[in-house]
Amino acid sequence: MAALAIRDVRKRFGTTEVLKGVGLEIENGEFTVIVGPSGCGKSTLLNIIAGLEKPTSGTVEIGGRIVNDVAPKDRDIAMVFQSYALYPSMTVRQNIVFGMECRNVPKPQRAEALARVARLLQIEPLLDRKPAQLSGGQRQRVAMGRALVRDPLLFLFDEPLSNLDAKLRVEMRMEIKQLHQRIGSTMVYVTHDQIEAMTMATRIAVMHQGEVQQFADPDTVYNRPANLFVAGFMGAPPMNIFPARVEAAPNGVQAIIGQGEDAVALALPDACAPHTGRTVMLGLRPECIAEEHRHAGHGLVLEAPVEMSEPTGAETIVVLRIGGERALARVAPDMRPGTGSRARFSLDMRRVCLFNPGTGMLLA
């Protein structure tokens, strides 16, 4: 049974359509991350799932029950907010048990649930403090505690880590992932951070302009992006995209990038054969362009002019030109080709993606 089913949900604010027919089915125990740039409608979608906003049309099903007309409190959900939304005048303890208090849960049961969650999140020493006396990470934990204590069917997270500093964000990311593995609840997590999506999700829904662009597991989203938007949004630095022409070659198919003397021919996998003769957008991840000997055996070696090198410590990002088109490569950290020099790169063409230049959809 699907823990959450969203069917053709549309939302209109005045004349702007924020959600244009969104459909998602999320299985029990899944960790679904809804990711997209700001204004893509992801938070509106989450608010609709929570019942804090009403869809203009379409249905929301939680645990097999249509909840369009069910109040947020009766949807068996818990939500963690970006601002944490801790009640400022209550102690941590009161914050966590407030939901049970509203539901008239007997006191011994409240204490038991509080103790369980406090132990799980290691916030026992904080229980008598007010939110103002907590650090960002502690507030985040308390906000999680308030959600966990309810043991709901569905957890909703609305960008819960964006107010934390980079280091804490990484720690909390791991903690949330471990938490999910431990308690196995169904979670829907909204973020604009594609790294969070890649690291935590069992499935990712990429949204753009009120539509789900792709709903798949992280590997598929990363390696086989459904369209040019997903290709550009997921991954940092993003996928290289070159206009190219697919042509027959003596032993298979090849892509021609660039024109005249700059033109470069890259051998394509056989799967690209049906697109022979077409003009396409060719996508290649930066890590598929590396130093000469990286892809031993199946690398396609190419000499290319270098525009710039950016050492990051763990690797060097090289800006180069392939067939006159700008490309980013991730090479070994000790390789630092100078600006204006020419260097040899190895291209792993097995992971190439072809997109329809008109619609932007993935071809092969």
Binding site: A50, A71, A78, P88, M90
Partner: protein, 295 residues
Amino acid sequence: MGLGSSTANGVPPVRNAPARLLLHAIAMLLAAAYLVPLVVVLLNSVRSAEEIAQTSMIGWPLAWAWGNYARAWSDFCIAQTCTGIQPYMMNSALVTVPATILSTLLGAVAGYAISLWRFPGHAWIFGLVTLGVFLPEQMRLIPWTIVLRDVGLTNTLTGLVLIHTIQGLSFTTLFCRNYYLSIPQDLIKAAKIDGAGFFRIFARIVLPLSPPILIVSTIWQFTGIWNEFLYGVTFTTGTQQPITAALIALTAAVADAPQYGVQSAAVVLAALPTLLVYLFGGRYFVRGLTAGAVK
């Protein structure tokens, strides 16, 4: 506090010495001008009627006539009733205290609903309610006459409580609504998911954040209602009058033999509650007006 420490109030310090002297002089002159009536009333309240009649309205007391206060309070005659201002002070308290509490609490609930629940038409409701801030009192006299007559509250303190509660809503709603706008919507959303309803969210989450604005609203309403004269004199007569209306009756009663001493004492006593509120609550008033709900 001198001008030297004025940076603490956000006013840039004046470096030029002659300019500073001039500023001091102007400020003191203005302060004196504002204070003169109060000083005259205070001095006269401890001078006997004879002394005022023989010397002048303005003068230092030759003999301290503290008895003026006792007479004004409990046995001076106002329109043939010789009870002093005591019962009228009581009337004012019986109108001001309930009307202040009611209008503040209702304004808080209304402001909360308008700012944090955003029901359809909330902007219209808010506009209509706050329109009351700009309507002159006189315009509302006749409607209130009709309403009081129809509900049977003419010439009663309850009638005045009703008027001041409803009129006060314009200001208290405006104050509270603006203050509550600084409460994040996420708090309300979280509480809704937690299962709290309209009044539980108000009582448990919004009200505990409200003391600064409730103090502002209380001070504003208390001084406004206590000092209000027009409705008091229009809708009540005789023993039902609040102190502001009774003070006028007092001048009328002594028109033939001026009792400036006792009258002054009565004025000082009548002004005392609002003065005390100002002295003890004034700093909260300024602080509350500039405070946000969540730090």
